[in-house]
Amino acid sequence: MIHAKQVNKFFYAPHKIHALKDASLEVAPGEVVVIIGPSGSGKSTFLRCLNRLEYADSGSIQIDGDDVLDPKADINTIRAEAGMVFQSFNLFPHKTVLENLTMAQMSVRKRSKAEAEDKGMMLLKKVGIEDKSNVYPNQLSGGQQQRVAIARSLAMDPKVILFDEPTSALDPEMVGEVLDVMKALAKEGMTMVVVTHEMGFAREVADRVIFMDDGCVIEEGTPIEFFKNPKNDRTRTFLDQIL
């Protein structure tokens, strides 16, 4: 589903930073891959390179066979296939919850209003907030907002969803409800790439865990081997600090 090979990314402001160093990632259909690592390790940058929210400087990235880094590629079509959930939700504050879900369906997927609303309500039910369909996002709690954001990306029927620290901005008691929705999605066979600090989620749901540090992919493996006996020293230090 996703083939990323030797991706490099530089930031030039305020000073030159080599944010990604030959990072590679393979994700098979239906797989749940969790990326962990200390802050500043480039994991969010890597995720954002996958749907070209950041343009990688070199390497190759393919999503479902489409070359993301090809300047002639129809990036809008590719992005519609790769949903994204942000740390800060980024719901549209001037639209109701249901309108948040229907807007892109109508303009990108060219669905009729009724069709989009049906789909929207179905997804709101799925994430457990169908009774809030007509309120504005700022009237929702953080956990509810993030669930709406997940529903919004699901509304496009994506082939893969990228989660960029989806629970980091949430109050501790709301983390659970969002993780539950993500677990349910994983069970249904959705392909997911998740950047997170929730080790419990990684252990329970991930098919594969990837550890990044200083822009490099240091280690990857199944949750059991990764958490039981990490091979790399840096991985070990990191896990010792957080567990």
Binding site: N76, E81, M84, F86, N90, H94, A104
Partner: protein, 334 residues
Amino acid sequence: MSLYPGLDAPRSKAYTTIWTGIFFVTLILGMTGLYVATKSVDYVWRWYQVPDYFFYQEDVETLSEIDGFIDHIDTQGETTLVTVKGEGETEIYTLPTESLLAAEGDYIYYGDPIGSQKKWQTGLLIYGLWITLKVSFLAIILALFIGIVTGLMRISDNPAFKWAAITYIELIRGSPLLVQLMIWYFVIGTLVNRLLMDLGVAKVPTLWFGILSLAIFTGAYTAEIVRAGVQSVHVGQMEAARSLGMSYFEAMRKVIMPQAINRILPALAGQFISLIKDSSLLGVISIRELTKITREVVTSSLQPFELWIVCAALYLVLTFGFSLLVQRLETRAV
């Protein structure tokens, strides 16, 4: 009430009463002072003349077009038919019954009034107000359009668009509106109308040069306001919209702009209120808007005090009405 409630001890009731009193006493003293000052220079206030410049009654006479005598008067309720018979010709006039002056058998000459009625006419100030309103309305619409387009060009990464926008904004903001009006009317206006004349096409009315110059002047300021508004919307909004597969322009139109416009409404309102007031300069290119009309009326009536005060009040009505309208928009948008 205060911007920082709770930082200081609450004000006493006497504090509010006394200072409110001081405000009104100062206001009344100021107005009395003005009145006394005008009295001492022997200015005679004639406020009763002012309404005539809004609406006045005019005598409209129905005149006979032939010599002859009134043969026949046929009253049918409100209207009356008067038949005048002359040598070999007959004329029938229709007029309101109450305006009738002539009686049956009267001999009348060509040009004599058969009836006279009073009709309400709109005065010059109303005409000026209408022109100001029309110019301002059209210029605001145009300026908003120019502002949005230029504001978006300003943040575009296309060098041609970006530099065109910067050049336009700096050029317009860097010279006085009065000078720009002169250029529009005497330079561009002359050139355009000369060319149109050579092509045998009708001239562009002066009014449009006025509207254009106002719109282009205000558009430059609006562009900067729009740019600031767009930049104030969090980058995450654009990222979210794009990550759903929406194109740049779609995301701009449906996600960024609605939020930006809502934030910049107060600043836009201020800019457009400025435009309404700036339209008072259009008199110099012989557009008869409110200020120019007031000048004309002052010349003929010799009542400058009343008329200039009325003129200012009329602008206040326009600008205040506009800001009320914008306030309503603000509370309606989320």
